[in-house]
């Protein structure tokens, strides 16, 4: 039973709205099985939107609304993230003070590898996202790290995403209990309700993709990070994955966590893994 009207009502500030959401699911088994989770996750969206081509899910709201898709395609001819992309390309090849460049920190010189991020570092025992790896590369070469939510980081990840465009998302979960725990923690975060609005990521991106919450058409959760980083007309600027998580939290009136904190990296791990096989489409333009 979809609580569509409640969602539209959702922002009066009172926390007195109770949702009785019947949801497709049985009590979770305690054994973590990412392969089965990914399969179920993808099938849920394929069945819910049978006429959306599988690879179209990565286009977020545009896979849900024809009129918006046409506007988006028109903008893609000369997209607003063009400047960030070129700035990223220039920054990527500008050597640090010590003469090294980002290419020295990444496999294949950083070209065409975005689809493998985030990955689980068995040495450190935690999820490493592209944004974290970029800042670590800067610090390893004596440079100050960039803010995770500002333009410089968005330009770098825009360029790296661009070099992977079209490649299927390819996230691996090593046979390591800590990796399974990180995946599960990301899944837990994705389905947990928070903020005074009492929404979880799933409340919007699983229960009601394609519908509107106020003026915005909600993107499906499947492939939702494939287009990162995104130029959002609403921000009239670029947004990294970190910026999107932080703003989503505050929109549900939950105090955001530190960018790149465990929950954010793990939920990025979970969302990227379940989108395995769908193409990278970043950098993206969004409303």
């Amino acid at each position: 039973m979809k609580a569509r009207s409640v969602l539209l009502l959702g922002s009066l500030g009172a926390a007195l709205i109770a949702f009785a959401l019947a949801s497709p699911g049985v009590i979770a088994a305690d054994m973590v099985d990412p392969v089965a989770d990914a399969k179920a996750f993808q099938n849920f969206f394929f069945q819910k939107f049978p006429n959306v081509k599988h690879e179209d899910f990565v286009n977020g709201p545009y896979s849900m609304n024809e009129d918006m898709k046409r506007q988006w395609q028109e903008k893609e001819e000369f997209p607003p993230y063009e400047f960030a992309l070129e700035a990223g390309k220039e920054m990527f090849s500008t050597p640090f003070k010590n003469g090294k460049t980002y290419a020295d920190c990444f496999p294949n010189g950083g070209i065409g590898i975005r689809q493998n991020y985030p990955y689980f570092d068995t040495g450190e025992g935690k999820v490493i996202t592209l944004e974290l790896a970029l800042n670590r590369c800067r610090e390893a070469n004596g440079e100050a790290p960039y803010s995770y939510v500002k333009d410089e980081m968005a330009s770098l990840t825009a360029y790296m995403a661009y070099t992977s465009r079209g490649k299927p998302m390819e996230i691996k979960i090593p046979d390591d209990p800590r990796a399974l725990a990180a995946f599960e923690n990301g899944k837990r975060y994705f389905y947990t309700r928070r903020g005074q609005m009492n929404f979880s990521c799933a409340s919007c991106h699983v229960q009601s993709p394609g519908e509107r919450i106020r003026a915005e058409t909600l993107a499906p959760a499947l492939g939702i990070l494939n287009a990162m980083p995104i130029y959002r007309s609403e921000w009239s600027g670029m947004g990294t994955t970190s910026r999107r998580f932080v703003t989503c939290n505050s929109q549900t009136r939950a105090v955001p966590l530190e960018p790149q904190s465990d929950e954010y990296r793990d939920v990025e791990y979970f969302l990227s893994y379940v989108a395995n096989g769908l193409p990278i489409s970043g950098p993206g333009a969004r409303p």
């Binding site: 903008k75 001819e77 000369f78 607003p80 063009e82 400047f83 070129e86 220039e90």
Partner: protein, 103 residues
């Protein structure tokens, strides 16, 4: 220094299609910044495209043109390799110019 103007000019037969994206805030003068003060109007007023010594397209813009403005048009009478000169001026006397070869 990269120019604020990105141009793509492609010709097919006698028709050249020109697309331009310009990095400019296009502030309307009606917007308050985070401290509550009005950001003064700052927008491109005139954008001129010249090819082979004559104007091929002139845009007069107001404050309703989007940030990082985009424009597309086509014209006849030019061929691959010809050069297009693009220049803009804004209401604060700012300006920029660049040239692009027709691909």
């Amino acid at each position: 220094m990269a120019s604020s103007i990105r141009v793509r000019a492609t010709s097919s037969g006698d028709i050249t299609e020109v697309q331009a994206l310009i990095q400019h805030p296009m502030d309307t003068g009606l917007v308050k910044d985070s401290k509550g003060e009005l950001i003064p109007a700052h927008f491109i007023q005139q954008l001129r495209f010249e090819c082979n010594g004559k104007d091929v397209f002139v845009a007069d813009w107001g404050t309703a043109v989007s940030k990082d403005p985009y424009v597309k048009f086509s014209f006849k009478g030019a061929k691959k390799g010809d050069e297009i000169k693009i220049s803009w001026t804004d209401n604060k006397g700012g300006s920029d110019t660049t040239t692009a070869k027709i691909a």
